[in-house]
Every structure is written in C-alpha cells, then in structure tokens.
C-alpha cells in the first residue's frame, strides 16, 4: 500500500506541481470546512449540480439525433422515441430531468429564504443564484419549443408576443426574436442554437456561484457563523456521503417518473404536431412556469399602463424582487428558526406560490381571477412590505452562542448524539 501510494503520489505530485488540480480539489472538496449541523435541506445545491450534468449529457446525445427544422423536428423526436437505441430513455430522462431540475432548484431557493442564506456576506452568492434561475427558465422555455408540438408552437407564440408590450420598440423586438412575422422555422433554428449554448453559460455562472460560496462557506440551520474548528467538519467524508445518499434518494424518485410515469408532468397536446392554423383550447406552460403565468395574467390595467405591459412587468418583477431581497429583509437574524413571526409568513409564502401555480393551470375566469390577483398581490406584499417591516418589529428568539454549543440544546440535537463523549473530547 505504501509503495503504491508513493508511486501514485509521484504522478499526482508531478501534475500537481504544474497544474495544482489535486491540491485544489483537496482544498475545496476534501478538507473544506463545513458547519457540522447542516440538515438535509442543504443537499439540494449539489443535487441541482448533478441534474445540470445529467441534462447536458442527455441533451448532447439527443442533439445528435434531432433535426431543428419545422418540417422535420416532430418526426425526428418520434424517431428518437422509436428507432434510436435507448432513444426513448434519453428523451424521457431529458424531459423529466427538466422538471426535476426545477423542483430541486425551487426547494434550494426556499431553503435560502427560510434560513437567511441571502444575507450578508452572501448577497452576491444569492444574486448569482437568481441569475442561474433566469438562465434555467430561458433554457427550459426554448427547449420546450424544439419538439414542435402544439404547445411548443403556441407557448412560444404567447410568450414571444409578450415583448410587443414594450412601448415604442416592442413590435420590432418581437419580429427580431422571431426572425420573421410569426414563430416559424427561423425561430426554431435559433432556439436550438441558444438552447445548446445556455446550459454552458449556466455552468459558468454556477462556477461563480461556488466561488462566492467558498469565500465565506456555507450558511447553516442556526444562521450563526462558525466560530472555530469545533463548529466545523471537513466536507469529505461527511458531506460527500450525505450528498451521495441524497442523490440516491433523488434518483429513485427521478427513475420513478422516467420509467413509470414519464408523461405525468407533461401536456398531451404536445404530442400533436404544431398547427399554426389551430390554437389548442388551453395554452398552458409546463408546471414550473405556472406561478409566473398566473402573475402575468392577474394584473389589470394600472393607471396609464395597459394590462398586457403591467402583467409582463409584474412577471419579471416577481423574479427581480428576489435580486434585491438581501436589502429588503431588515432582520438582523438570519435563520427562520429564531424568527417566530417570520416562520408563519414563510409558510404563507409557500402556500401563496402553490396557489399561484394552481391558478396558472386554469383559464383566467370566474373565481380564479380574484384568487390570482390576491395571490399576486400577497407575493409582492411579502417581499416589498412585510420583510422590511418585520425585521424592525419582530423580536427574535435568543440565538445560541455557537454551533457546537447549540448541539447540546433541543433544537440541534441529533438522535444519535452522545453529548458526553465527543464534545467534551474536542473542546
């Protein structure tokens, strides 16, 4: 073992001396200090990274078989499903992977919202995350157009038409996006090019996201900083194995969808080839866009702003508001665990987002209109009114003195704890 290790060290040392990849990996992934009290809500970042890799990998192989021309696209996808070896598997992985990517990312975001991960000094980390979310949304939107089904075509038509709401230059922008007078072949071709490109832009922003993370390290459920080595454990082996376990659980759920319910999250209308002369009875985006769709359709005419433009502003605004969240939330306390009033409003926000999603799935008629407007209003009230005020008036619970001391309190207690042994040894 020793001589083998030395020989290996030889090659590794040779490389490392010229390009310090191994030292880098050991520093950032191996011995990197993490809070010892991270719970399973912290798995979702690495999970999102894994899904990104799966999507790029499956996407590259699908791109080998797909034809981005309006007369051939739908048939090329059917060829993938029927003739290409394991084509159906790649397609269903890519299709359901997109949904998984959004579920995981939304949970990851809500983790950040609850535990105050967006607060100083992690503001830029958070903002980079919002950039990643925007890129994901653009990528997913364009990807959905590629099969050129009824929903592909009509969803593209509706969403690109939104930009005509921009005053003065709106129509020019839309025809520039389309490359013509309507969603047509030029649109499909450029969406394919950009759909292939953007994931790599996402990779780059994820790298920045990780650099920003590693500067100050991870937040933790208590929201208090690590005071020293007694609060930390190395990433490897503790969080490598915990992440691996989380990945295993995730893959089971993912496989459940891919193999046993591959079309559950999709819309049957997209199995009809696009027909520019026939609009489907309901144009509905994929589930992960439903809350934004609801906001878009909820806003009526406001003063001199027509409803269409106001809806577009509100929809983008719902994401832009996340950018400035670190400055909206005035609470000096990070974690929702110690913010007794905030916790309830956080729950309300989650319910509000689910309600928005439910509204987005239905036609904007009857009670759905009122509910949609109320839910939209509440979303903005939560961020723009509630958070700034709450921070000033809420009385937070007393924070523990340190992470390791908190391990002894009820909150941080792990069932397998034997406090007498380990803690005393170390401190």
């Amino acid at each position: 073992m020793a001589s083998a290790a030395k020989a290996k060290k030889g090659i590794i040392g040779w490389i490392d001396h010229r390009l310090p990849i191994f030292t880098f990996l050991d520093h950032e992934l191996g011995s990197f200090p993490e809070p010892k009290n991270l719970n399973y809500w912290w798995n979702f970042g690495s999970l999102a990274g894994i899904i990104l890799v799966v999507m790029i990998f499956s996407g590259i192989f699908l791109a080998m078989e797909y034809t981005p021309h309006k007369d051939l696209a739908f048939d090329s996808v059917e060829r993938i499903m029927r003739d290409v070896n394991y084509g159906w598997l790649m397609r269903y992985i890519h299709m359901n992977g997109a949904s998984m990517f959004f579920i995981v990312t939304y949970i990851h975001i809500f983790r950040g919202l609850y535990f105050g991960s967006y607060k100083a000094p992690r503001e830029l980390l958070w903002m980079l995350g919002v950039v990643i979310l925007l890129l994901m949304m653009m990528t997913a939107f364009m990807g959905y157009v590629l099969p050129w089904g009824q929903m592909s075509y009509w969803g593209a038509t509706v969403i690109t038409n939104l930009f005509s709401a921009i005053p003065v230059v709106g129509d020019q922008i839309v025809s520039w996006l389309w490359g013509g007078f309507t969603v047509d072949n030029p649109t499909l071709n450029r969406f394919f090019s950009l759909h292939y490109l953007l994931p790599f832009v996402i990779v780059a922003v994820v790298c920045l996201h990780l650099v920003a993370l590693h500067l100050h390290g991870s937040n933790n459920p208590l929201g208090i900083d690590r005071k020293g080595p007694q609060d930390s454990i190395p990433f490897h082996p503790y969080y490598t194995i915990k992440d691996l376990f989380g990945i295993g659980v995730f893959l089971i759920i993912f496989a459940g969808f891919v193999f046993f319910a591959p079309n559950f999250l999709g819309d049957p209308a997209n199995y009809q080839p696009a027909n520019p002369l026939q609009t489907p009875p309901e144009i509905v985006p994929e589930w992960y866009f439903l809350p934004f769709y609801a906001i878009l359709r909820s806003v009526p005419d406001i003063l001199f702003i027509p409803a269409k433009l106001a809806g577009v502003i509100a929809m983008f605004g719902s994401i832009l508001v996340l950018f400035v969240l670190p400055w909206l939330d005035t609470s000096p306390v990070r974690s929702g665990r110690f913010r007794p009033i905030f916790r309830w409003f956080f729950l309300l926000l989650m319910i509000d987002c689910l309600v928005l999603g439910w509204v987005g799935a239905h036609k904007p008629e009857g009670t759905f209109v009122l509910i949609g407007q109320a839910a939209t209003a509440w979303y903005f009230i939560h961020f723009l009114v509630l958070l700034p005020l709450l921070g000033k008036f809420e009385r937070p619970r007393p924070l523990p003195t340190s992470i390791s001391s908190a391990v002894l309190t009820v909150r941080g207690l792990h069932p397998s704890i034997k406090p007498a042994t380990a803690i005393k040894e170390k401190s």
Binding site: R82, G248, I252, F259, P268, P415
Partner: protein, 258 residues
Amino acid sequence: MMQHRLLPVAASLAVIFLGGAVPAQAEGGYKLLQPKSEWSFEGPLGTYDKAALRRGFQVYNEVCSTCHALVHLRYGDLDGLGYTADEIKAIAAQKQVTDGPNDQGEMYQRPARASDFFARPFPNEQAARYSNNGAVPADLSLVVKAREGGPDYVFSLLNGYKEPPAGVKLGAGMNYNAYFPGHQTAMPQPLADGAVTYADGTRADLEQMAQDVTTFLTWAAEPNLEARHRMGLQVIGFLILLTGVFYVLKRRIWSKVH
C-alpha cells in the same frame, strides 16, 4: 426523524404509482368509460396482451386505415406483435405505397415492404379534407398520448356515439358523441358489432373491438412500454440497494461526530 425524511419520497412514489388509478375525466366533465377487463398495460408492471394487439391491428387495418394514417409506424415494427417476417411481408404487400421517381421521372405505386412506413390513406391534408367533409382524420400513431384521458378517452369515444339529447341541433354531416369535446364530430360511428371477423375467433362486439383497437393504438404510441417497465424495476431495485448502502455508510461515518 427517519419517517420525516421518507415521507416526501413515499408520497412522490405513491403519486407516481397510484396516479393512474384515478378515473380520468373527459373535457366537458363526462366520467370516462373503462373496459370491463382492465388495460393490460396499466400500472408499473403493465405489459401488452399480444393477442389483443393482433386483434386491434386487424381492426385498424380493416376499418380505421381507410381514413386514418399511422405515419410513424413501419410494417416491420409489427414484429412487436409477434408476427413473423413472412407474415409482415404479406401484410405489407396488401397495401400500395408511392415510390419514385423512375427513370421516366414519374412517381409510381408499388406494394409496400417491411421497411416502408404504413401506407397513408390520403397523399396530403387537402385530399383528406376533400374526402371528409372538410375535416382531417387525425393520424393515430400518437393519439393515445395526445388526448387527455389517454386510452380511456379513445375507448369511450368509440363507445360514445348516441342520439343527441333533446334541444341539441347537429351540424351538417356531424355526429353526436358523448365524449368528444364539443360533442359533435365529423367521424361517423366507425365500429358496430361484427364489423370485423377476428382471426383468433374472439367475439367481435363493439366493446371488444374498441378495447382491442385501443390497446393496439396504445402500443403504436408507446412500443417501448414493456422494455421501459422492465428496466425501471431493475434500475429502481438497484438504486434502492445503492441508496441503502450509502445510508448505512453515512450513519457510520456520522456516528463519529457529535
């Protein structure tokens, strides 16, 4: 703590596996019909009943193919129904497909081969509309996946022709169907008892034919279903094992902390 973590997993799996058991709804709120014997392909362990597939193909071939194309299928794909290469050759040769141009520059008709796509009843959309009162008979390769309610919808549609209720005026050339969105369809009732004489001797009443042809069309839309289910069981079984190993390893490593 353990149950707390497993709950979302269990909930997701329950949705996936049992979701199919919820009775489907047609647009317009009619509860969809279900065949007396359950669909053989439903559920995570579903497979295709080959005899039903062959009967269903016979119904398609003798009745539906007059108007409805099956553009994404090749005759050779029928080996999935258990036909031999010679049987497929004979089935294909009954239909004519367009080929060419020949050395004179003309397109010509020739008998279909196994490698050909299914012969189309109409050469283009305009010809289809011209022969069908302005309506286009939908291609059936994906119809089961392209309709809300899937196989239950197609089955209901085929069984759903009725006299229009009082006060409903039918458009010219239209037919009343309880399950078609809007209830008026240009397609006349395609199947009636005895429309086909089954090669395997099964009694060909309307419900039997509707079930068989729906099973065939489900296969046409998802020929890889059986391979998918089989692989799914292997993959999830393996993942449960792997995740279990990870979990034990995690507990062991983490017992050093605290």
